[in-house]
C-alpha cells in the first residue's frame, strides 16, 4: 500500500511537470507569436513596411492570422498530446495520433517562423512517456532521431522561406534588441531545463518501478523457499511419526511374542512333570511363537532402518542427510570427522545416524539455529558425536520426545547423552567401543 502511494505520488509529480512543460511552451508560443504580431503591426504603423519586407525572403503572414495559427496549432498539439497519452487508444490509432502530433508541432514551428523549436521537446516528452518494452526503446530512439531530423530538415528547408526572428528584432533600438534576443534564448534554455527535469523524473520513476518489481520478486522467491523447506520438514515429521508408530508396533509385536512365550513357559513348568508330552507340545508351540517373534522383529527392524544406511556407508549417509537437511532448512551445517569408528554394528550405525539427524533437527526446530557443527570422533574405548549450534538454546532443558528417544537408543548400546546450553545448544553422545572389537576377534 505504501509503495503504491509513493508510485502514485511520483506519477503525479511527473504529470504536473509535463503540464508545466506544456503550459510553459504555451506561454512561450503565445509571447513569441504576440511579439511578432505586434511588431508587424508596429512596422505597418510606422511606415517601414517596405524596408522590413526587403530583409525577408517571403511575405510573412498577416499579424492576426499568424497569431491565430500559432495558438491554434499549439492547442491542437496539446490536444493530440493528451489524446496520445490516453490508455484507451489502440496501437495503430496511437501512431496516427503521434504523426498528427508531429505535424502540429511542425505547424507551430512554421507559424512562429522557426524562431522557437522548443515544442519539439514537448513531442519527445510525449514519446518518452509511452516508452515501454525492449523494442520500444529502439523505436523511441529511432523516432527521436527522426523527429530531430525532421525539425532540422525543416529548419534547413524553410530557413529561406520564413521571416527570420532577427528581422523582427531589428525593428527595435539596439539596446532593446539585446534584451529581446536574451529573453528569447532564455525561453529556449528554461524549456530545455524543464525537459531534462521531466526526463530525469521519468527515468527515475521507471527505475523505481523496476526496483519495486525486483524486490517483490525476491520476496516471492523467499516465500517459495520457505514453503519448500516447510514441506520437507512436514514430510520428515510424518516419517518420524510413522517410525514411532512402527517402534510401538515392534514393541507390541515383541511384547506380544514375549508375553506369549512367558505364558507358554509358565504352562510348561506346570505341565513338565504332569504331562511331559503336553509340555513338549507346548514348548514346540512356544518355539514357534519365539521364531515368529524373531521374524517379526527382524522384519520390523529392517523396515525401520533408513534407506540411505541400507545403501551407503555411514559416512556418506550422514554426509548426504546433513547436506539434504542443510539445503532444505537453509542451515549451515559442517561435519567434522576426527576419526571414523570402524567395524560398527548396524544398530550402532543406526543410532549414530539417528542422533545426528535428531540433533540437527532439534537445532533447527527448537534452537532456531542457522549454523551447526557436527563433530564425530573416536577415542580409545568409545566413539562420540558432538552437535553444537548457534541457536537460542535454553536454560532449563525439558527433554522432549526427541531427546528421550535419543537417550533410549543410546541406552540400548550403553551409551550416554549429555547436553548443555552456552552459545547455543550443545549435545554430546558417547557410545562405548573397543571390547566388541576384541569379542569379534
Amino acid at each position: 500500500m505504501k509503495v503504491d502511494f509513493e508510485v502514485m505520488r511520483e506519477q503525479a509529480r511527473i504529470a504536473s511537470l509535463y503540464r508545466l512543460l506544456g503550459i510553459y511552451n504555451g506561454l512561450v508560443v503565445f509571447l513569441m507569436a504576440g511579439f511578432m504580431s505586434i511588431t508587424q503591426e508596429k512596422i505597418i504603423k510606422s511606415m517601414s513596411a517596405r524596408s522590413f519586407l526587403e530583409t525577408l525572403p517571403i511575405v510573412p503572414m498577416p499579424a492576426g492570422e499568424c497569431f491565430a495559427l500559432s495558438m491554434g496549432s499549439f492547442l491542437l498539439l496539446v490536444g493530440l498530446g493528451h489524446l496520445y497519452r490516453r490508455d484507451t487508444l489502440t496501437d495503430t490509432m496511437r501512431y496516427f495520433v503521434f504523426l498528427a502530433e508531429i505535424s502540429a508541432c511542425l505547424l507551430v514551428m512554421r507559424s512562429l517562423n522557426l524562431a522557437y523549436d522548443g515544442v519539439v521537446l514537448l513531442v519527445v516528452a510525449d514519446l518518452m512517456h509511452r516508452y515501454q518494452g525492449k523494442n520500444q526503446s529502439w523505436l523511441l530512439l529511432g523516432a527521436m532521431f527522426g523527429l530531430y531530423f525532421i525539425a532540422n530538415y525543416n529548419m534547413a528547408v524553410f530557413q529561406g522561406h520564413v521571416a527570420p526572428f532577427d528581422a523582427y528584432v531589428s525593428y527595435y533600438k539596439s539596446s532593446v534588441q539585446a534584451i529581446l534576443v536574451a529573453v528569447k534564448n532564455g525561453f529556449v534554455s528554461v524549456n530545455i531545463i524543464l525537459f531534462v527535469l521531466y526526463l530525469v523524473l521519468l527515468v527515475q520513476s521507471k527505475h523505481q518501478e523496476k526496483e519495486r518489481i525486483a524486490s517483490l520478486n525476491k520476496q516471492l522467491g523467499d516465500a517459495n523457499k520457505r514453503l519448500r523447506a516447510y514441506a520437507i520438514e512436514a514430510e520428515r515429521m510424518a516419517e518420524t511419526r510413522e517410525r514411532n508408530r512402527l517402534a510401538r508396533e515392534i514393541h507390541d509385536t515383541l511384547g506380544h511374542a514375549l508375553t506369549g512365550i512367558a505364558a507358554g513357559l509358565d504352562a510348561c513348568i506346570i505341565l513338565v512333570d504332569a504331562a511331559p508330552e503336553a509340555a513338549k507340545k507346548q514348548l514346540a508351540k512356544i518355539r514357534e511363537t519365539a521364531r515368529r517373534g524373531i521374524v517379526d522383529v527382524r522384519r520390523s527392524v529392517k523396515k525401520l532402518r533408513p534407506d540411505d544406511l541400507e545403501k551407503l556407508p555411514l559416512r556418506h549417509a550422514i554426509a548426504r542427510m546433513v547436506a539434504e537437511f542443510a539445503e532444505s532448512s537453509n542451515m549451515k551445517i559442517k561435519v567434522i570427522a576426527l576419526g571414523w569408528p570402524d567395524n560398527l554394528r548396524e544398530d550402532e550405525e543406526e543410532v549414530i545416524y539417528r542422533v545426528v539427524q535428531e540433533g540437527i533437527t532439534n537445532a533447527n526446530q527448537h534452537g532456531h539455529a542457522t549454523e551447526a557443527i557436527v563433530t564425530i570422533g573416536t577415542e580409545p574405548g568409545r566413539n562420540y558425536i558432538i552437535i553444537a549450534d548457534n541457536g537460542i538454546g535454553c536454560s532449563e532443558v525439558d527433554p522432549g520426545f526427541g531427546l528421550r528417544h535419543m537417550k533410549e537408543r543410546l541406552g540400548l548400546l550403553h551409551g550416554r547423552l549429555r547436553y548443555w546450553s552456552d552459545n547455543g545448544f550443545t549435545l554430546e553422545a558417547t557410545i562405548p567401543a573397543g571390547n566388541r572389537q576384541e569379542d569379534d576377534k
Binding site: E54, P57, L76
Partner: protein, 435 residues
C-alpha cells in the same frame, strides 16, 4: 475524468478556432477584385488623368463579368505607393491585381508574393506572349518565369535642339547616326559664344556611360548575375568615347539650366518626356524658346541605335482568392488592344503590344497628339522598342551598378588612369556578385 473534460475543452476550442478562421476568411466579399494603382505618371512626368485607363478597364470588365466588382484606392501618390503596397502585403490585404514598382519586382517575385503567370499565359487561348515587345515582356520575368505583365513601356530617345543646330548650320542627324557623328557635332557646338571666356554652348547634357554601353551592344552581366563583363572591349570603346565626350566639354559641367535655356544640342529624353512636352499645353510652357525633336540614340561602333527600356508592370497577388478573375482583369489591362491603345492617348507611355503600336489607328492618334514631328513616328518608336535592352534583374544589380558607376565616373573624369581600370573593376564587381 478531469483530463477528459480538459481534452474535450481543447478540442472544442480548436473547433471554434477553425470555424472562426473560416468565417473570417469568407467575410471578404465573394467577388470583389481590388486593384492597386497610384496617382501620377510612372515616368516622372506631369500627368493629368491618372485613373483614366483603369476606370475604362473596370467599366469594360464589370460589363463582361456581371456580379464582379472591381475597386481601387485612389489618391496614393507614386512615391508612397511602394510603402503602401508593402504595408498591404504585410497586413495580408494586398490587392488582387496591382502595379509592381520596378524596384520591388524582384523582391516580390522572389518572396512568392506574385503569382506565376506563365501557365495562365500558356493555357489562355486568347493570349499570346509574342504580341509583346521582348524587352517589355522580359521585364516581368524572374527565374525564367513570368510574374508580371507589361502595361506600358518607355524607351529612351535623343532630344535634339533643332534651333541650335540650325544656327550652327548642322543638319539634324538621321536615325542611324553614330557616336562619331554625335561626337563631332558636340565638338563643333561647344564654344564660348559671347566671348566672356566661359563656355556657354554645349553638345550634350545628361548622357552617361550606361547609355553608351547600351548603344554599343554591351552586355554587362551574366544572366544569373554571378559575373560581369566590364573588361569587354565594347565597354572599353564606350569608355574611350565617354572620355572624348567629356573632353569635348573642356571640363565644364553642363547643368539642367543650360539645357532649359536652349544652350545644349542634345539630351537623352524618355519617350514619356517627349510625349508630355511635345503637345499642348506643355509645348508652350517648357522649351518654348527653341524648336526641338527626338531621334534615336547614336550607335556605337559595335552596337546599334537602340535604347534601354523602362516598363511598367502589373502582377497578380499570389494569395488572391480570385486568381482566374484577376488574370482576366490583368489581361484586360495589359493585353486588350483597345486598352493598350489608350496608353497613347491617356498616358505618356507606349503600348507594349507591337501590333497596337504599329497599327494605323495608333499612328493617326500619335500624329494628332504630337504635331510637328518630322523625325519621330511610331514606326521608328516600334523599331526602338523591338531592339530595346532590358535592365538586368538580379539581386545586387543596383549595388553593383552603383559601384561600377562610381568607379567609371572617376575614369571618365580622368581621376583614375584608364589603362587597366576596367579589368580591376570587373574583378571587384565579380567579387561582390559572388559573395
Amino acid at each position: 475524468m478531469r483530463r477528459d473534460i480538459k481534452r474535450q475543452l481543447a478540442l472544442v476550442m480548436l473547433a471554434v478556432f477553425l470555424i472562426a478562421s473560416v468565417l473570417i476568411y469568407q467575410r471578404q466579399e465573394p467577388d470583389e477584385l481590388k486593384v492597386g494603382v497610384f496617382a501620377g505618371s510612372n515616368w516622372g512626368v506631369p500627368d493629368g488623368d491618372s485613373y483614366a485607363v483603369i476606370d475604362e478597364v473596370i467599366k469594360i470588365f464589370e460589363q463582361e463579368h456581371p456580379g464582379v466588382k472591381v475597386t481601387y484606392v485612389s489618391g496614393i501618390k507614386k512615391e508612397d505607393y511602394s510603402e503602401w503596397l508593402a504595408e498591404k502585403m504585410l497586413a495580408g490585404e494586398a490587392p488582387d491585381v496591382f502595379i509592381v514598382p520596378g524596384d520591388d519586382f524582384n523582391m516580390y517575385a522572389s518572396m512568392g508574393a506574385l503569382q506565376d503567370l506563365t501557365n495562365y499565359g500558356n493555357q489562355d487561348k486568347d493570349f499570346s506572349w509574342t504580341a509583346y515587345y521582348p524587352a517589355a515582356l522580359n521585364y516581368g520575368r524572374y527565374d525564367e518565369r513570368v510574374y508580371g505583365l507589361p502595361v506600358a513601356s518607355v524607351p529612351t530617345l535623343m532630344f535634339v535642339n533643332k534651333t541650335l543646330l540650325a544656327r550652327e548650320g548642322i543638319a539634324i542627324p538621321k536615325n542611324d547616326w553614330t557616336w562619331q557623328e554625335f561626337l563631332e557635332i558636340c565638338r563643333r557646338v561647344t564654344k564660348d559664344k559671347d566671348g566672356d571666356g566661359v563656355l556657354d554652348q554645349f553638345g550634350v547634357y545628361d548622357y552617361d556611360w550606361k547609355l553608351a554601353a547600351v548603344t554599343n551592344g554591351v552586355k554587362l552581366f551574366r544572366d544569373d548575375g554571378r559575373a560581369s563583363y566590364f573588361a569587354d572591349h565594347r565597354v572599353e570603346e564606350a569608355m574611350q568615347f565617354m572620355i572624348k565626350l567629356h573632353d569635348a566639354q573642356r571640363g565644364r559641367e553642363v547643368t539642367a539650366k543650360d539645357f532649359d535655356m536652349g544652350r545644349v544640342a542634345f539630351r537623352p529624353f524618355t519617350f514619356a518626356e517627349y510625349r508630355t512636352y511635345k503637345p499642348y499645353p506643355w509645348r508652350i510652357k517648357k522649351y518654348s524658346s527653341f524648336e526641338w525633336d527626338c531621334i534615336k540614340l547614336p550607335a556605337g561602333p559595335s552596337g546599334d541605335n537602340v535604347s534601354n527600356l523602362q516598363t511598367m508592370l502589373m502582377g497578380v497577388n499570389a494569395n488572391s482568392r480570385h486568381k482566374e478573375l484577376a488574370w482576366q482583369l490583368l489581361k484586360d489591362i495589359c493585353y486588350r488592344p483597345e486598352i493598350q491603345q489608350m496608353m497613347l492617348t491617356k498616358t505618356q507611355g507606349l503600348p507594349v503590344r507591337r501590333d497596337v503600336v504599329e497599327s494605323k489607328e495608333s499612328q493617326e492618334l500619335f500624329a494628332a497628339n504630337a504635331p510637328g514631328c518630322e523625325e519621330m513616328d511610331l514606326r521608328v518608336v516600334s523599331e526602338v522598342m523591338d531592339k530595346a535592352v532590358m535592365r538586368p534583374k538580379f539581386k545586387g544589380y543596383d549595388e553593383a551598378m552603383l559601384m561600377a558607376d562610381t568607379e567609371i565616373q572617376k575614369i571618365i573624369a580622368g581621376i583614375v588612369p584608364f589603362n587597366n581600370a576596367l579589368n580591376k573593376l570587373q574583378k571587384e564587381i565579380n567579387a561582390y556578385l559572388q559573395q
